[in-house]
């Protein structure tokens, strides 16, 4: 006993010390919280908030209580300026307990409306039972409408059954009726619920409070009360969203009784109730919900059928029922059935889906095609592959498209066979599918199909090659195939080689640029001009410099070099500059020279700058050289201020036009 007394005394002493510390801190902050310079109050507010937060940490209850007592005293003191009191009470909202109730309770009668409101809010959050009493007393005392609305809310939040007698008469008040109903719903005592039921015919808001009441009863574990109220809500003549809520709550409260309501709700013709019934069935039947709902399908109106179909899960009876609906009169039902088969269908559904995808309306076709792309029940994939292999061409085309939608890579060999077939629709569908899901292993066959001139094969080859991570290997394969190909066949794969790239492919294409067959030669030069790798610069320059080269080929070659120079940011600047200058040498026409200048302007390097400056005196291209110089000068302004300045000054010195001089001057002035 003595030990306990000593402990208590020490604890009390510690609290006093802490209280004294807190009081000093708070006293220091009070003038700052009410400073005339409103903007400066923020820092003090944050300081007090930090103190309050730290004192309310778990395990710090002594500190919290000590600070709470200090703050409560300050909140109550008329000598403390109002802005400081407001902020102090705001802290008490989140950390005050029993030690602050008396002070806050007194503030409920304060003349200052803001202080009163702050105190009410803080008491609403206060877990001490005494807080309820002072709030209740304040409501008894009365006040203006706004004040009473606040107090009613607080008592509702406290689930205070003791205030029901005060609240019930307010239900018919034009301004207090809704808040009173809300509070009664939160309290959810039998008396509160009775009062709400009595009000429901005259006050429409009462029904939502009844829903709130059931929710509260369920959360409080008061199942019996919840069942009674939810049942009554469902059976009432209230608006259907409220009845739907009743049904949802019934499902949470009493599964057995709710079972009786599922079918009538589904057949009610009211879409809210129908949907609520499906949701309720999912809750109460769990894993057997799908089969239960599927059994009801034949009896239901179309809208309910749609809801039920959307909710079905894999189950043999569900699939059978959905297949039945897939041929019904109502299109929305048919579409819902086709959609759900993606989720629940097996091989048994494939024929129906393909038929809808071939013969249905546009919406059905889309729904069926989408489902064929996703259906994953037993043997569904095999059934689709089977349909792809033989039979009517339209059916096969749909099945083939589905295999692509499913990204079924095991189907690629079979698709390659289909692609080689004579039927154009089957072959085309297969090549589109291969383009989507084909891999490196399909390349050899695809190249052969391209060489054979199959329509669509080149697009498929390009798509697969573009996706491949082993482009150089593909390039090797293409180069090898190219050596064996006829002139006619070559035309089909040269441009694919330009996309794929690689040393072998480049060597092969370069070889063909000197081919005796004009068509092959033209195709090879054009492929070279589209090459993506910088290594193509040299052969392109060779083409451009060839004596007697066709103008078209020379122009294309220079354009190809310029493109590679512009896109070759990862190449050494010198190599790019050299390439551009070599192209310039070969360029016979001003148009090409201008393109070279544009490419030079993309190289952020002083060598490019020097090359451009030299061209400022070339009468034919000096204006474009100046444009290029200014472009490069702007790009170099930050990384190489000196070269940037040199370029701009050179343009000014060249004195080509007042507009260019002006732009150069502006650049020089820019920081």
């Amino acid at each position: 006993m003595k030990r306990i007394l000593i402990t208590l005394t020490l604890a009390s002493l510690a609290l006093t010390v802490r209280g004294a510390d807190f009081a000093a801190q708070v006293n220091d902050l009070i003038p700052k919280l009410a400073a005339a310079d409103v903007g400066s109050r923020y820092e003090a507010q944050m300081q007090l908030q930090v103190i309050a937060s730290a004192s309310s940490m778990p395990g710090n209850d002594a500190d919290r209580a000590a600070l709470g007592a200090v703050l409560a005293a300050k909140a109550a003191a008329a000598s403390v300026p109002q802005p400081a009191r407001v902020w102090i009470i705001r802290q008490l909202e989140y950390m005050g307990r029993g030690e602050v109730v008396t002070a806050l309770g007194a503030l409920l009668g304060d003349a200052d409306a803001e202080l009163r409101e702050c105190a009410r809010r803080a008491l609403e959050k206060n877990p001490d039972p005494k807080a309820i009493k002072v709030l209740r007393a304040a409501l008894q005392k009365g006040g203006d409408t706004t004040w009473k609305i606040g107090l009613i809310r607080s008592l509702g939040e406290k689930h205070d059954a003791g205030s029901v007698a005060m609240l019930v008469p307010l239900l018919n008040d034009p301004k207090l009726g809704r808040p009173a109903a809300k509070a009664l719903g939160s309290i959810a005592s039998p008396e509160a619920i009775d009062a709400l039921w009595k009000a429901v015919d005259t006050q429409s808001f009462a029904c939502e409070s009844l829903v709130d009441a059931v929710n509260f009863l369920l959360s409080a574990g008061k199942r019996d009360g919840a069942v009674t109220a939810a049942d009554k809500l469902y059976k009432s003549r209230l608006p259907s969203p409220v009845r739907a809520a009743g049904l949802a709550l019934m499902a949470k409260s009493d599964a057995e009784v709710t079972k009786q309501y599922i079918e009538p709700s589904l057949r009610s013709g009211d879409t809210r109730l129908e949907k609520a019934a499906v949701d309720a069935a999912l809750v109460i039947y769990g894993k057997t919900a799908s089969a239960t709902l599927a059994a009801l399908l034949p009896k239901l109106p179309d809208s309910a059928k749609v809801f039920v179909l959307n909710a079905l899960t894999p189950d043999p009876s569900a699939e059978k029922a959905a297949l039945g609906c897939a041929t019904e009169k109502g299109e929305s039902v048919r579409i819902a059935a086709l959609e759900v088969l993606a989720k629940i269908g097996t091989a048994a559904s494939v024929t129906v889906l393909i038929k809808a995808a071939v013969n249905g309306s546009e919406t059905e076709k889309n729904a069926a095609a989408a489902s064929l792309g996703r259906i994953n029940g037993a043997l569904a994939g095999e059934a689709i592959a089977q349909q792809a292999r033989q039979g009517d061409a339209a059916v096969r085309a749909v099945a083939i498209a589905s295999l692509a939608g499913r990204a079924d890579k095991s189907a690629v060999p079979s698709l390659l066979s289909c692609a080689a077939e004579n039927d154009a629709s089957v072959s085309k569908a297969a090549l589109v599918a291969i383009g989507k899901i084909g891999n490196d292993e399909s390349l050899d066959s695809l190249v052969r199909l391209v060489l054979d001139g199959k329509p669509g094969a080149k697009d498929a080859l390009l798509a697969v090659a573009n996706r491949s991570a082993n482009k150089s290997v593909i390039g090797q394969q293409l180069a090898a195939q190219a050596q064996r190909a006829s002139s006619q066949q070559l035309a089909g794969i040269l441009d694919v080689m330009s996309l794929v790239g690689g040393t072998d492919a480049l060597a092969a294409v370069v070889k063909f640029t000197a081919d005796g067959n004009d068509e092959v030669k033209d195709g090879a030069i054009r492929a070279l001009c589209q090459w993506r790798e910088f290594a193509a610069v040299k052969p392109l320059l060779d083409v451009a410099a060839t004596t007697g080269v066709k103008l078209t080929h020379q122009v294309l070659a220079i354009q190809g070099v310029c493109r590679l120079v512009r896109n070759g940011a990862s190449e050494p600047s010198m190599a790019r500059v050299d390439a551009a200058l070599a192209a310039l040498k070969t360029a016979g026409r001003d148009q090409e020279k201008k393109q070279v200048l544009s490419a030079l302007a993309s190289i952020k390097d002083r060598k490019a700058a020097d090359a451009i400056i030299k061209l400022l005196t070339d009468t034919a291209v000096k204006t474009d050289a100046a444009q290029a110089a200014l472009l490069l000068a702007d790009a170099l302004r930050k990384p190489d201020r000196g070269t940037s300045k040199k370029l701009a000054e050179a343009v000014k010195k060249a004195n080509i036009s007042p507009e260019l001089d002006n732009r150069a001057e502006q650049l020089l002035r820019k920081k």
């Binding site: 969203p241 739907a244 179309d302």
Partner: protein, 434 residues
């Protein structure tokens, strides 16, 4: 303080008939015979609440659809609501070719919209502190709702909203529209299918607002119902900087009206992270504020140890970076998606791969389609609530300067009674409804 007289159902039908007869040819996705004669499968009558900057796109979108008709607009600023009403009526007059059209009412009080039985759906684009009260009232009145993000101001509001949506059967869309963008969906699918292995770390870039301020009182502008703008939040003297809707500040800076950047951009990026991790009905278990014990980045942690770090700079120029033990996904708006290995982003889906909800058109269109079909939207109230919970808990931890433990199943803060009080906020009278 209704601005225009209430329109009777009969008046409304007359107006509708004029419009329908003149220019509105409404596509019927679900035949009216399926969902009933008065079902919204033909045309959806809309009420628009909060006609500020953010509403711009939504308003234009709804006005542009022939299967929607705006019957009412609502704002606490007279100029905004009157201008919205004029724009609506002018557009419908033009569409109907009738010379003039008077069929859009302008209200200060959103409650007037809720009372109208001829309005099917409501678009809520107010500051955060009004989202829940307005949306809940709409759903309880049988209306469908599109609500801007973050869905709520408090965690408790979200639980109520989600329950109300489910129980009353409303079609509800949260405005976390990144879910309807291809790149974000693809990023989530890559993560969900395990293509980058087990994700252990995620960086999300939210940025920061300037700190809140204590502001001197200014005169309330003519035609502005400031008390109603404040609504359930604590009273403060009017100042323009408190109420303005600037993306870089304004009300978004203040804790009273939201969770600052956690609520602003967190509602987008944390939402995508939830989706990617398959946590739409759950959430993290721990929240650690920046600065706590030297923690450099605000962090939340999922039960499997996956960490989400806010504003870590190494995001490779992206908004979100997912780091797995076999690769990475980085994603941003503007359809920007990068992966390691690079070919992941173009990898076709196998039939057994997880494919997430893909909207066929835009985020708002998804809501409208779902109003017609009564199917769930891509971002339901439960999803919005779970995302907003992360935003709010991050904010609470920041304000309290201490970590929080969270039980996402019970939706409770563990072992911190005072922090638990922040799960809801008391409401200023008379705006106490939720």
């Amino acid at each position: 303080m209704k601005q225009t007289s209430h329109v009777s159902r009969r008046d409304f039908l007359k107006r509708s008939a004029v419009l329908a007869g003149a220019a509105f040819a409404f596509p019927t996705i679900v035949p009216s015979s399926v969902f009933g004669q008065n079902a919204p499968s033909n045309r959806i009558a809309m009420g628009m609440v909060g006609m500020g900057q953010m509403m711009g796109g939504h308003f234009g979108h709804v006005l542009g659809r022939d299967d929607c008709q705006v019957l009412a607009v609502c704002d606490v600023v007279r100029e905004k609501r009157e201008s919205a009403k004029a724009r609506t009526e002018s557009l419908y007059a033009k569409k109907s070719g009738a010379g003039s059209y008077k069929g859009c009412d302008a209200y200060i009080e959103f409650e007037r919209i809720m009372e109208r039985k001829d309005i099917d759906a409501v678009v809520v684009v107010t500051p955060d502190h009004w989202h829940a009260p307005i949306s809940n009232m709409a759903m309880r009145h049988g209306k469908d709702v599109y609500c801007q993000k973050p869905m709520t101001l408090t965690i408790c509001e979200g639980r109520i909203m989600s329950d109300v949506q489910r129980q009353y059967g409303a079609v509800f869309q949260v405005g976390s529209q990144q879910r309807s963008e291809r790149a974000f969906r693809k990023a989530c699918e890559i993560v969900r299918n395990g293509w980058i292995g087990n994700v252990h770390t995620i960086y999300a870039g939210l940025g920061d607002f300037p700190p809140p301020q204590t502001l001197p009182e200014q005169p309330i502008p003519e035609g502005f119902d400031y008390d109603r703008w404040l609504g359930p939040t604590p009273w403060y003297p009017y100042n323009e900087n408190r109420v303005k809707g600037s993306y870089g500040g304004g009300w978004r800076c203040f804790w009273d009206y939201g969770s600052r950047k956690n609520g602003d951009w967190g509602a987008h990026h944390f939402d995508i992270i939830q989706w990617a991790l398959g946590m739409d009905h759950s959430g993290p278990v721990q929240f650690i504020p920046k600065g706590y014990n030297g923690n450099r980045y605000q962090t939340h942690i999922y039960a499997d140890g996956t960490k989400v770090l806010r504003d870590h700079p190494d995001r490779k120029g992206h908004m979100i970076r997912f780091i797995g033990d076999k690769g990475e996904v980085c994603v941003s708006r503007g359809d920007k998606l990068d992966t390691i290995p690079v070919e992941l982003k173009d990898r076709p889906f196998d039939v057994s791969d997880i494919k997430l909800y893909a909207v066929t058109r835009g985020h708002e269109d998804n809501w409208i389609e779902c109003i017609k079909t009564r199917k769930p939207t891509i971002c339901t109230a439960e999803i919005g609530h779970r995302t907003a919970t992360i935003c709010h808990l991050s904010g609470i931890a920041e304000r309290l300067s201490r970590p929080l433990k969270w039980d996402p199943d019970k939706e409770q803060i563990i072992g911190d009674a005072e922090a638990t009080r922040w799960m809801d906020r008391p409401r200023r009278a008379p705006y106490t409804y939720i």
